[in-house]
Amino acid sequence: MTRFLLTEDKVITFIEHLQKQKNVFAPHKRGTNSFAFEQVSDPASVMLDYTRTLHSVKKYFMPPREQLLSFSLTDNSFAEPTVDPVDAIFLGVHSYDLQAVFKLDHNFSEGNPEKNYLKRREGALFVGVTFAPDQWHFSGSVGINPNDADGFDVFLFAVENGYAVEAFTPAGESLLSGFEMSEFNSDIPAAADFNQHIYVPQGKLSEVFDNAWDNEVWEETSKECVGCGTCNMVCPTCYCFNVEDGVDVTATVGQRERHWDACMTRDFSEVAGGEVFREELAARQRHRVYRKFKYISDKTGQPWCVGCGRCTASCSAKISIVNIVNKLVQDHEQATVAPV
């Protein structure tokens, strides 16, 4: 396919070109070290060169708080909420975050398909961009590289003085049409290396986790962990939720809402009467990590972690999922090597 050169000085007009077609959401700088996906109002404030956003684009398809229905307490009737497709262009998405969206698509489509999520997902177009791995990224270990354009409508490959732009879908081609760019005929420079890795091929992870249940790493990490659930909140593939009713101050109407929930918190596995099925922090950490590398993976054949590094970057106790997995890998290999 043809690639075009988008020079650095044309990026703003390119964003303006996209804005004429649909709403555009892109990374913006927030605070000193943080980035967030937000709707673009000023194209000059878009940051295409960023490490990672605090939350992934998941927040648009599965909002942190979402109405499931509204009700009237006077006559016990309820009404369907309005759920509109996000129908926007997501610009500057890193490859791991798009793969995370595809994983959520699987979770909300399989078994009982969920209308709310699938409706919001309609019409979303993704324009990817190369990322430079920082100290937390490890997506290469789960098969996702900085220049992976899989699934994108358009990808912006980082090159000297700008981006090599390629469309991969008819919708992507249509996004580019009418925007003047010269052809780009050079090679795409190799993406930068990752600074950390999981030390086995992803195909072997399931086997590692077969022998990881009683590993001491769960107990060790639980000494530092405070069970705050931040790792769940920032994870682009976590989709567990709680459902609660809220009542308006008039006490006549209200809404049933779902909100993101965290398996690292104690009450997540609590049942009526107070029994908690994962009382220990070690058991909760194990559940979280098994969900990323074993439980769903055995059914789908791929890790459910995309290697974005958010859980580790955001952890106030500095618990590293890569260190946990590598400890399991190391112990598994020592246990399976035949004695000399």
């Binding site: 016990n76 249940w213 459902v243 009467g273």
Partner: protein, 272 residues
């Protein structure tokens, strides 16, 4: 696409006090349609402004027109529910999950081991067997309760006692002065049973601690694992395999359970 989270507005058509803590609610769906559940399945009951929670259906699908939920007053939603009366509305979603596959039980002896409030869900199976009595062999019911004052469904317990085709055994951890029955934990009743082990389907429903001891006892008795079934408690928030709350390893209790065939459960850590 069907909306997964919308309830059907049903009516409470009867309320009966089962014990100081438990009430039995008779629920009628709009138009008196049947719930069409399997014994062992659950529904999500909701009260607008309070919330939603999962409850096992206590009645057998053979009893038409209404269904029953036996509910302990143990939290916010159940507290509000316990103050409600016949004629008031509740939201119902479901039935959900996998119940007892009664076809597998046909022609077999059926043994029920129920502890405390565990009798509520398993009553759906007991009454199913009683309503199709000729399809099954012996019906053996072991029921254990903390005290004789906590015994549930006392009218039905009396019927089982009087029914020559039901082998009903009951024990309480501690009985009051006028209690003349067995005293002791439920496992004390297992060694003395004369069972056709290969031909007996055994169902265990009770608090987590009870499962471990009943399993040990059944194992000593020589009960084959493939003849054992259990129903597990978790807080299913969605009932449709999405919210993650009921997950045990890779199994969702709201989908694969709450009724499990023991060999499928034996490999799951954190199940019991």
């Amino acid at each position: 696409m069907k909306d997964l989270y919308f309830p059907v507005m049903a009516e409470i058509t009867g309320v009966k006090q089962l014990s100081p803590m438990e009430k039995l609610f008779e629920i009628t769906l709009p138009g008196g349609v049947d719930l069409e559940h399997d014994p062992g399945q659950f529904v999500e009951l909701s009260l607008f402004g309070v919330g939603e929670a999962p409850f096992s259906v206590s009645s057998s699908p053979t009893r038409k027109g209404t269904f029953e939920l036996g509910i302990r007053n143990v939290g916010m939603l159940t507290d509000v529910l316990h103050r409600m009366e016949a004629g008031e509305k509740v939201g119902i979603r479901g039935p959900f999950g996998s119940g007892f596959n009664v076809d597998d039980f046909k022609g077999k002896d059926v043994m029920i081991v129920a502890g405390g409030i565990g009798l509520v869900p398993v009553r759906s199976l007991i009454n199913y067997v009683l309503d199709n009595r000729d399809d099954f062999g012996r019906l053996i019911i072991l029921y254990g309760s903390k005290t004789d004052k906590d015994l549930l469904f006392t009218d039905e317990l009396q019927q089982w006692t009087d029914d020559p085709k039901v082998e009903y055994h009951v024990t309480v951890d501690s009985g009051s002065d006028d209690w003349t029955g067995n005293t002791g934990v439920i496992t004390t009743m297992i060694p003395g049973l004369d069972l056709d082990l290969e031909n007996t389907k055994c169902v265990i429903v009770g608090p987590p601690i009870m499962y471990r001891f009943v399993l040990l006892s059944l194992n000593s008795k020589g009960m084959p694992e493939e003849n054992i079934y259990m129903s597990l408690e978790r807080r299913m928030k969605c009932g449709v395999g999405k919210c993650g709350h009921c997950q045990i390893n890779s199994s969702y209790v709201c989908q694969d359970g709450p009724v499990y065939h023991y060999p499928d459960l034996a490999d799951l850590q954190e199940a019991l």
